[in-house]
Structure formats: structure tokens, C-alpha cells
């Protein structure tokens, strides 16, 4: 087991993506925020901006979220958003 975070992006229409990542960078209401393995439990409100998920092989997924929430709990990252675009 690598030091990976299990990530899930949820929207009211269903799960947008779920998988593993080593680092998550999100745009919170008050600035950017990076999450690595063993991050303390956290809940934050997201602002408008990019959401990047870096996986162990170095590849990166990019989204743009418009508001929502991000929760970190026991190395599980959950992003809740009703508006998200890939790219």
C-alpha cells in the first residue's frame, strides 16, 4: 500500500470520479490548499478554481470546481460539488 489518498468526487448526479492520488490540490474559499497522506481531518468550503489530483505515476487530473466542499478523513478525500468541469 503506497501512501495514497482515496479520492472521490461526488455531484448530485452521481460520482464524477473516484480513485487514488498522492496529492490533492484544491481551491478553498481563502486560497489554495494541498493535501498529502496523513492529513488531519478537515472540512473546507471550496471556492471557484482548479482542483488537481496527482497520482502515483506522476499523471495529473484537472478539474474546475465552482463551489462545494472538501472533506479529509482517514486518508479519504471527498469533494462535493454541484458544478464541476474537467480540464
Amino acid at each position: 500500500m503506497e501512501r495514497e489518498l482515496h479520492c472521490e468526487i461526488l455531484s448530485p448526479d452521481g460520482s464524477v470520479w473516484s480513485g487514488e492520488a498522492v496529492m490533492v490540490v484544491a481551491t478553498a474559499v481563502d486560497g489554495q490548499l494541498g493535501i498529502l497522506f496523513n492529513h488531519a481531518p478537515l472540512v473546507t468550503a471550496l471556492g471557484d478554481g482548479p482542483l488537481r489530483l496527482k497520482s502515483a505515476d506522476g499523471s495529473e487530473r484537472k478539474y474546475v470546481a465552482h463551489g462545494g466542499f472538501l472533506e479529509v478523513f482517514r486518508n479519504r478525500v471527498t469533494v462535493l460539488t454541484d458544478k464541476i468541469e474537467e480540464g
Binding site: 448530485p12 481563502d30 481531518p41 478537515l42 466542499f69
Partner: protein
């Protein structure tokens, strides 16, 4: 007894009706599956919203959020009734309408003022016919309600609530408890109420603050509740229609079976009579 040709015409007409109800049954079955899937797909999001809320300590914050704390005195209650645009779904709408009328009259008994809002053509027409005053109605929500439509409805009532136009919002709708059970219920949506499931969670860091999170979390929860209700309504509609059309098809089968027997008897009687006439005629000639 009616003559054989008339009966055979009736059989043909039942057959055609049966074909239509059978088709509608099949269409409803496939839509039911899709709407049911959407309802399921929305569940993780809903659960997570609730769990984020539970991870926060709401004590002492309730007063700061008008969406959470109820009014000391409730005078004006908005009642939103959710119905469908199309009929042929058994008692689905009738049950909701009956329940809405019940809710309205008990509110009146309590001396409260009500503002009635309706979605769905069926509910709108029925209540208008019954002489209710409808403040607003929407009939543009189709079989696949979108989150944006739900959010629009939620925001509208949220504004009215925050402006003090209404003290409470109740939504009367059919709850989706599975394929065969959709009882009408009245839910108080505003002020927002949460059932505390009581499970303790780890201490969370709340960024930037619990107030700021609540500020955007509460409207989302409200929108999501409305969205869930709209999804339940469309899933229930399709399920109810499937059952109604299945019953109609079964009834048509039964009628065709009985009529076929009547038809055979009539045909037999006709042949017997004709034979008797021929024999009688031949005897008279002999």
C-alpha cells in the same frame, strides 16, 4: 344476446387498447429503472452533505443562521405540492392532492395563513378546479428533473423565508419507498431540521470557519433536499404508471377472455338457429 359480429368488434377494440397499455407499461418500466438509478446516484452526495454537517458542532451557531432557527411565531406557511405533468399513473397524484388538501385545512384550523405553490400540471389543474388559490405553479419540470431546476425552486423559497415573507415551507410529495409504495408525505423543509444520528466523529479542522462552511452548506442541503424530492417524484410516477398500466393490461386480457367465450357462444347459437331454419324449411317443403 348481441350478435357475433358486434362482439368480435368489441374484442378487436379491447385488443387495441391492450396494445397501448402494454406499450405504456414497457415504457414506464424502462423509465422507472432510469429514474431509480438517478435516485441511487444522488445518494452518496446527500449522505456526505449530511455527514459534513454532523461533523460540525452546531451548538450556539443556530441563532446565527436564520435557515436553522425557526420563527417564534409561525403565521405564514408556504406549501409546495409536487405532482406530475402526466396522468395514467393510478392514484399517484390523487393521493398527493388529498394529502395536500388535508395539510392545508389543518393549517387553516390552526389559524395560519398559507401560500400554495404547485409543480406539475396534474396537481395544478386539480387544485385550481377545486377552487384553491395557487400562488405559483411550474409545469416545465419533465421526467428528468435537473439539479438546476431544484436549486431554482430552493433558492426562491429560501429568499422568501429570509425576507420574512414566509415562516415555514412544507413540501407535500410522494415519498419513494420502493417500486410499489409511494405514500404522500408532508415535509417541513424550512426551517431546516436535522435528525441527529448521534454518532461521534473525529474533531475536524474547519476551514476557514464553521460559520463560513455553514453559510454555503445550508443552501446546498436545501437544494439537495428539493432535488431528492423531485427525483423521488419522477421515480414514483414511473413506478405507479407501470403498475397502473400492468393492471389495465391484465384487465383487458380478462375482458378479452370473457368476451371470446361470449362470442363463441353467440356464433354457435347463430349456426344452430340457421340450421334449425334450414331443417324447418326443408321439412315444410317435403
Amino acid at each position: 344476446m348481441a350478435n357475433a359480429r358486434e362482439i368480435s368488434k368489441r374484442i378487436a377494440s379491447f385488443g387495441k387498447t391492450r396494445q397501448i397499455t402494454k406499450t405504456m407499461e414497457l415504457v414506464a418500466t424502462s423509465r422507472m429503472k432510469k429514474t431509480h438509478d438517478r435516485l441511487q446516484a444522488a445518494k452518496p452526495y446527500t449522505d456526505k452533505l449530511a455527514s459534513i454537517l454532523h461533523s460540525m458542532n452546531l451548538e450556539g451557531l443556530e441563532e446565527k443562521f436564520p435557515l436553522l432557527c425557526g420563527r417564534p411565531e409561525v403565521n405564514r406557511v408556504a406549501v409546495l405540492m409536487i405532482s406530475t405533468n402526466r396522468g395514467l399513473c393510478g392514484g399517484f397524484n390523487a393521493n398527493v392532492i388529498r394529502h395536500a388538501r388535508h395539510v392545508l385545512s389543518s393549517l387553516w384550523e390552526e389559524g395560519k395563513e398559507t401560500v400554495l405553490h404547485v409543480t406539475g400540471r396534474k396537481g395544478n389543474n386539480a387544485l385550481r378546479y377545486l377552487g384553491y388559490e395557487i400562488a405559483s405553479s411550474r409545469t416545465d419540470i419533465g421526467d428528468w428533473p435537473s439539479y438546476d431546476e431544484a436549486a431554482e425552486i430552493a433558492r426562491r423559497f429560501m429568499e422568501e423565508y429570509l425576507d420574512g415573507d414566509i415562516d415555514e415551507l412544507r413540501i407535500v410529495h410522494a415519498e419513494y419507498r420502493g417500486v410499489a409504495s409511494h405514500p404522500p408525505v408532508a415535509e417541513t423543509i424550512l426551517p431546516l431540521r436535522f435528525d441527529d444520528d448521534g454518532h461521534e466523529r473525529a474533531e475536524f479542522l474547519l476551514e476557514p470557519s464553521s460559520e463560513a462552511i455553514l453559510e454555503s452548506l445550508l443552501p446546498r442541503i436545501l437544494e439537495n433536499r428539493v432535488f431528492k424530492i423531485l427525483l423521488e417524484n419522477s421515480a414514483g410516477e414511473q413506478a405507479a404508471r407501470r403498475i397502473a398500466m400492468k393492471n389495465a393490461t391484465d384487465n383487458a386480457d380478462e375482458l378479452i377472455r370473457i368476451l371470446t367465450r361470449v362470442y363463441n357462444r353467440a356464433r354457435q347459437a347463430q349456426i344452430t338457429q340457421e340450421l334449425a331454419e334450414i331443417v324447418g324449411g326443408a321439412e315444410a317443403l317435403a
